[in-house]
């Protein structure tokens, strides 16, 4: 069995990858994927911590993860709609073009 610290290291790494993606990427779809990676890091953490007591898996964490996957799906649906409209207005998916709002 892999010890819990390994799982924690993995989920923190996943979180950092998500933040790195949000900071450096310029494509709108990639930013959305960064958000999904962040949510999945949290979901993974819930799953790994649910089985921290040997022989018992807590159903609370699994139900949270199920609901959280649904919420993440609806966030990405709204995001994709906004990205489609942004593409129609600007003709590009580059976020550097989206800086007409200033001040």
């Amino acid at each position: 069995m892999i010890a819990p610290p390994h799982y924690l290291v993995f989920s923190f790494t996943l979180y950092m990858i998500g933040i790195y993606c949000l900071v450096t990427k310029r494509n709108m779809i990639r930013l959305l994927l960064g958000i999904e990676i962040l949510i999945n890091a949290a979901n993974f953490n819930f799953i790994s911590l649910a089985s921290s007591i040997p022989g018992l898996i807590d159903p609370l964490a699994l139900s949270i993860v199920t609901v959280s996957i649904g919420l993440a799906a609806s966030v990405s649906a709204v995001a994709v709609i906004i990205i489609v409209y942004a593409y129609r207005h600007y003709g590009t998916l580059d976020v550097r073009m989206l800086k007409r709002l200033k001040g």
């Binding site: 609370l60 709204v78 906004i82 409209y85 709002l101």
Partner: protein
Amino acid sequence: MFSPTIDVLLIFALTTPLIGWLVERIRKVQLCGVYASIGLMISLWYIYELFGKVSSDGAQTFTSFFSSQLRIDLLGIFMATVFVLIGISASVYSLRYMERDTGIPLFYSLLLLMISGMVGTVFSGDFFTFFVFWEMMCISSYTLVAFRKQRWEPIEAAFKYLIMSSAGSATLLFGMSILYGICGTLNFQGLHIALSNVGSSVWLYVSAIFILIGLGVKSAIVPLHTWLPDAHSAAPSSISAMLSGVVVETGIYAICRVGFTVLSGIQSQWISVIAILSVLTMLVGNLTPLLQTDLKRLLAYSSIGHIGYMLAGIATGTALGLTGTLMHIFNHALMKGTAFLCAGVILYRLETRELKEMSGVGRRMPVTAITFIISLLALTGLPPLNGFVSEVTIVLATIEANMAWLGVAVIINSIISAAYYIRVIRTILQPVTQKKIEEVKEGPPIMLAVLCILSAMIIIFGIWPDALINFAKNAASVLLGG
């Protein structure tokens, strides 16, 4: 299913598109706005009934079929009253304001969903329910910001808002998962008991950092505030009033609830962080509006300043400071709601947000001008109006808690804020010179009725604040006692 208030809001949210489809046949789309407003009023009545029950029997617990848990105490009732009150005014105001747009039934449906998300957030008794309702509020507010999709500005603002806010939500979820790992439960009361047995560890600090960052994005604490001015100025005015008046305050509520129940073991540490951030928030929120030429953007920046005052109340950590914060949440919702709705009337008639192009508009729109001036003076903190009462309570609380430097910062910032509010008042009262302004008429009567009622409430709660003070004091004592 959940408590009666949320049930009513959800049922009306789901049936509004159906009613909208029916009334579109007879070409009276505005009727679904009336339907949504009736739903909000019914839910306000249920909140009043719950208030009776809670004040006699203590906190009510609802455990539903979905094993989500609601725990309704006086603090929840206090916040829900604010949300539904501002929701009713925004919904009645939108009857005329949104008449030139398409998709009105969906607008009201989303508005009701956003309000039910906020009410659910303040009624929830565990982190799981809290998060589900929180996301419901967030998702519907992204869609409402981007509602006028044919323009570029709302789309750009909504995308920025969505990326920042959902990264914040994911961070909150990550913090929750660590907290779950420490305690094995997510119930607020259970976490309080479990953490007082476990004591503070490194993991508790890590999860506190993640949770405060997640909540800080939504409540626009300064390093995380950049989405706010864009989203609040690009949204339709009734939604700006909701976003600035209540959605941001949901974040402040969450900081209070999580901070004083779950993280009470490390209170002195997180409170000192909040104290420093509050001064930064106030300074940024009051210095940037001095440079703005866009009316709604100016008002949006000034709400960051008011968030700073509320954080100063939290940073004292005493009952008096929390009373001040809760009163300022109520008062700020009234004042900023009125100010944004007045800006909306000017926008509706003039179709511009530039301050230069509206010089002298107050002479052609007297009722709007008077209500606007009342709300701006209240935001400055002028004595007979309600903003003064809550700001004085916060300043007194900082002196009582030996943090007088924070009180001095609040006073200096309200002096700075007077500079830009008075600039707006001067602009709208100048003599009329442009031809476009001379032809402007007063706004539609239904919008003016909403403005008059809200500004009357500003004056009433300024002169007789006793009932509000008592309510806020009881809500604050619930927070510190449990």
